[in-house]
């Protein structure tokens, strides 16, 4: 048992080291990760300024309950991009292995496949965890110094929200294995998520049917709770309920996601299409 655990940890460490090495080979992409939430916030903020005129912040406060436009936007942008990158990277990494001609070898290795998927997301977790800390801390420090105390709790909410997000990414990884070209599908799904989770607005402005879909996504709860903790926004549900919902999703989503992945992988393996693209 212990040797199994040790070998699993060795696998995790090896894949993590490999992916980290690849990720750090392109430093401009890492800088981009830090810059994107700010750049999107700047873009939306400037557009809003143009549309709302001199009273744009007042209109914003009426709808969102906070006058701290920039932190509200940066928080939304950070969670949205985190969600996008995790879902995209877990799926894309398989696609890249396929294009590089290494997917078949990787999947023929005597390694637990669940572990392979988890490890693909591990680098994203670390890089985005650091990104989140820097981006959000910097925004809070610059625009709302009093909220700094809420950072640890909001980071806890984020970590809890990441687990079900991985589950969703497993489903997409399965689709990548089954479908030959996943980017269009992943892009559509990620954009739908960005609209549904209330990236730059509260989900209450969406139609009621869309709000139902919003409440199936862990990012919606994580983002609303973080805005509640850091900006004092009206909660989507109470904090205790948020923890409970995210914990439930953290159990159910990875389980369902892995089942879906295994289903698609088995079908692809039987048809002999694993390495085709």
């Amino acid at each position: 048992m212990s040797s199994g655990l040790a070998s699993n940890l060795r696998v995790l460490r090896a894949i993590f080291a490999k992916d980290l090495r690849q990720a750090t080979r392109y430093p401009t992409q890492i800088i981009m990760l830090f810059a994107l939430p700010f750049l999107f916030a700047l873009l939306v903020h400037t557009m809003g300024n143009y549309v709302g005129g001199a009273r744009y912040a007042e209109y914003f406060a009426q709808q969102t309950g906070t006058t701290n436009v920039f932190v509200y936007q940066v928080l939304g942008g950070a969670i949205w991009l985190l969600s996008w990158i995790i879902i995209d990277r877990v799926g894309s990494s398989l696609r890249e292995e396929r294009i590089s001609g290494t997917l078949e070898q990787v999947y023929m290795a005597p390694v637990n496949r669940f572990l392979l998927l988890i490890s693909k997301a591990l680098v994203q977790f670390v890089t985005f965890g650091i990104t989140f800390l820097v981006v959000i801390s910097l925004s809070i420090w610059l625009f709302d110094g009093q909220a700094v105390g809420g950072l640890p709790q909001s980071f806890l909410v984020l970590c809890l929200g990441l687990v079900p997000l991985w589950g969703i990414s497993f489903l997409f990884a399965g689709l990548v294995v089954r479908l030959k070209e996943p980017y269009a599908f992943i892009n559509v799904a990620n954009l739908l998520f960005s609209i549904l989770i209330g990236t730059y607005y509260p989900i209450t402005i969406l139609p009621s049917w869309a709000q139902v879909a919003s409440r199936l996504l862990p990012q919606t709860y994580a983002l609303a709770a973080m805005r509640q903790i850091l900006l004092g926004n009206a909660p989507l549900v109470g904090l205790q309920e948020t923890y409970a919902i995210l914990a439930l999703m953290a159990v159910v989503y990875p389980f369902l996601g892995f089942l879906a992945f295994k289903f698609f992988l088995d079908r692809t393996t039987v048809s002999g299409d694993l390495s085709k693209f």
Partner: protein, 270 residues
Amino acid sequence: MSRVLEEFRAAFLKDIKIYSRYPSWVLGDVLVAPLWFLFFVLSVYIFSPPSSLTSSDMAQTLSSFFWGYTFVMLFNTGVVGIGQYMVIEQTSGTLEQILMAPINRLTIVAGRWAMAIVTDTIILSSTALFLVASQHVGIQLQHPLSLAAVLGLLEAALLGLGLTFAGVTLRLKGVVSAINYLWFGVVIFSGVFFPVTAFPASLEGLSLILPTTYYVDMIKHFAVGTPTILGSTVEGGLLCVFSVAILVIGWNVFGLMDRIVREQGTTGTY
């Protein structure tokens, strides 16, 4: 000349063949553009006066957004698409063979560029249909022929920019992030979603030295009827100069980078 045209045709057919092999790409293109538009509109709506979505001012603003968005899409598929094309060929291990083929250098990206025009047409048509179907936005198109001429000049400039990025991608690895920075710079400072006069004076100066500002300005002028910054005749002349200059620069940059990586033997490295 006929040989070059034959090469272009072959390159275009190859990319069409790849594109049509994945129906999900077509479906994705049809869906992604309206979703991006919806995402931006919802994000901006939160800043607008209550109940303004139904006002004629908002309809006018959204129509202007659409034409700004048209520019973004063309820029995206042209510049980013061509730049990334090199990365795709690199990772697929086919770049070295393509660059060693005895073909015109322009042919290498021409197929991708032509494909970009096809996908842009799909993307913008689906977005326009979505907007019209939503009953909040009527797409204004006041001078279609003049607009088509401006879009033609823009496509020539995008091909030049795409060639530049394709060349830089050959030489420097991991250029995609740089393209992203450029994308944000262009979208924010070229007055794509709001007029450059909305900037403070110092930033307005920056906008006015960007060639892309004048492409956006002329697109909106001929589509929605917004006044131009320098006058339509002056800007029309500027766009002709910009398009030719950017195309020539792109051609030379690509040729230079191609030569350098051949000498260094790093063509296929990524």
